[in-house]
Amino acid sequence: MSFFSRSPWILHYDGSSCNGCDIEVLACLTPLYDVERFGVLNTGNPKHADILLVTGSVNERNIEIVENLYRQMPDPKVVVAVGACACSGGIFARAYNIQGGIDKVIPVDVYVPGCAARPESIIDGVVQGIAALEAKRKKTA
């Protein structure tokens, strides 16, 4: 039996976002959505995390950070891009310093659309992330 589906721990990283998506991510933790029901924890630490939730796009300055955080997560791990910015650069895509979506830097497993992404779809994204996590574990095991 795998425990990953019952205990997905999340690292939330905010790239170049407008903070709209971040507020929605945090809303998932509130009594209304209460993702801890499914064992989800917001760890704030790559070494404890299974799922990297990224909001906002990558820019020149945070490429290194995103790469570093991703590298420090222990396997198996998945990346969920939350919101239009994280998926493609969103409304900031043409800005002078923006590189584009997160997948420019690290492999993304799940794309969650929306501007901002709604809590329901974020939770749905995490659930799909868990499936990806399971698949990766099976591959390595």
Binding site: Y13, P46, K47, E64, Q72
Partner: protein, 641 residues
Amino acid sequence: MTSLIAFLIAFPIVVGTILLLITRASIRNPIVLVASAAIAAASVATVVTFGNGDGVFFGLPGGIVPGQALLAAEIAITALIVVIGLMNRRILAPIMAIAQLAIALFLEVTGRMPEADPQRLFWFDRLSMVMILVIGLIGTLICVNAIGYMHDYHRSNPMIKGRRNVFFSILFIFLAGMFGLVVSNYLPMMLVFWEITTVCSFLLIGYTRTPETIGYAFKALNMNLLGGLGFGLAIALLADQHLGLDFAKLMAGPASGTLLAAVALLAFAGITKSAQMPFSSWLIGAMYAPSPTSALLHSSTMVKAGVFLLLRLSPAMSGSTVGYLVTFVGLGTFLFVSLVAVTEQNTKKVLAYSTIGSLGLIVGCAGIGTPELAWVGVMIIIFHALAKGLLFLVVGTIENRLYTKDMENFDTLLSRLPRVSVLALAGIAGMFIAPFGIVVAKWAAIRAFLLVPGGQGAVMILIMAFGSSLTLFYWGKLLIKVLSMRSISDYERSIERRISRYEWFTEGALAVGVIAVTASIGLISDRVVGPYALSAFAAGPQTFLNIEPAMLVVMLAAVLFLPLLAVWASTRKFDAADFYTSGRSANASHVMGAALGGSKSVTLRNYYLEGVINGAMMFRVGTLACGAILIAMVTVGMVVR
């Protein structure tokens, strides 16, 4: 037996005199090696000859009594102190030395000095046996270590004039003084050896002859001469009372009247020599001397003479107010120096405070005067001598390689000096990690304090509870620093190869000793320390430590854990850059990118509890408090009788 004891006292003096005349290292080193081996062998032979009985008494062949020779020795010592004192324009030390001589002369001239019993000059029992082994084995290892250390010391301190012939000469005479001290049964003879150790430590502390060390040397001299004066007065008191000056007879049971007054004065002497508060500062000052000096003063000689005397006094102090006050001087010292130690960053000083604290525990045990606590006291002597001797030598070696005594600069020691780290960890484990050793002693001490009636028992337990936790804090900080790792350059890797074989051999031997003694603690307790405690107090049979074999295995694992881990880990490869720095990348040398470009190196500093504990103030408060208790102790002894 007699001839072996005579050898142990006379031979080091002869060697010391010869070494004084030899300035060439190529000739000196073999002499030091051979003499050390001979002394070690003789001390083992003494113990083997003794077997394992209760105390024996013996004199010199032909029934010679030292008589005038003692007086001559005292005059010589006084003359030496007066000359050196006046050369350095110090007046206090000569005055005290002369005062002490005056007492002896007065007794001698008025014919009051009781003669020694020619058949009872020396007293050898299991406590002497432990001390002989501590001095003969650990002391000589330190002498051998000094060969390597002093070579590097003078190379890295070219400003200091090399007088290594003097240094080694004093080391050996020091050993002779200690041997004499622990087997003397005639008090005036013991006093002469007592003063020999005082003068030797004075000369060793002042070895570098900088204004700073000369100051500390005189501080040590003054405080110890004050103690010697107390010793002399005790003899004077006893001389008048026609009780004789036979140490074993005087200390056979609880004292009263004039004898109690003399016991109080002798306890005062023991407290000065074991660097208890208010006399702790001399031992801290001694930290500025070369490390073998520190190792010698702290582990096998000098301070151990102080606690040895107090343990000898223990049956006489038993149950008296004097005894309780001695206990509070010791425990008070333990508490306050532990408070100071958590705020101290200089590793040698932390070790020094830890020494004073451990000695405080022994003093605390001696004052109560029960077999259980005497057992604890001797156990601490054994473990402390080994582990602390090792730690001081290791810190000396580190100091000569990394040019620092600062605890903060010991970080990643496991990567930089892996083999030295193993030795350091063995020493720390012996001092503190081991559930046996000092910790078992603390446990047994609390058990015994529970039986002390009235409020003082509660205070003793409170002191133990807080003091023990403070020791945990400063050892923990040191361990963190030693155990941390990073990647190192080839140059750094080469540093360790330059440590001399003298240092490897002596420190390795002590590390093995720590582990061997821990493994055989049951045996030592059942065969040596237990019987000693029972015979000293003429108590009925009892067991002190009940260890099941399974428990011993678990505990031995605890002692071996850290050193073995270090041996294993130092050979492993790992990614030293893989630590969390909020996403900024860091490299294996702990340099990380800064927010606005450029780079910063990661420095991590231990907590020293600033703002909560003020070390300097704690030292003053402790000195005042223990000083007041000490004055009360002597007064009670003199007045109440």
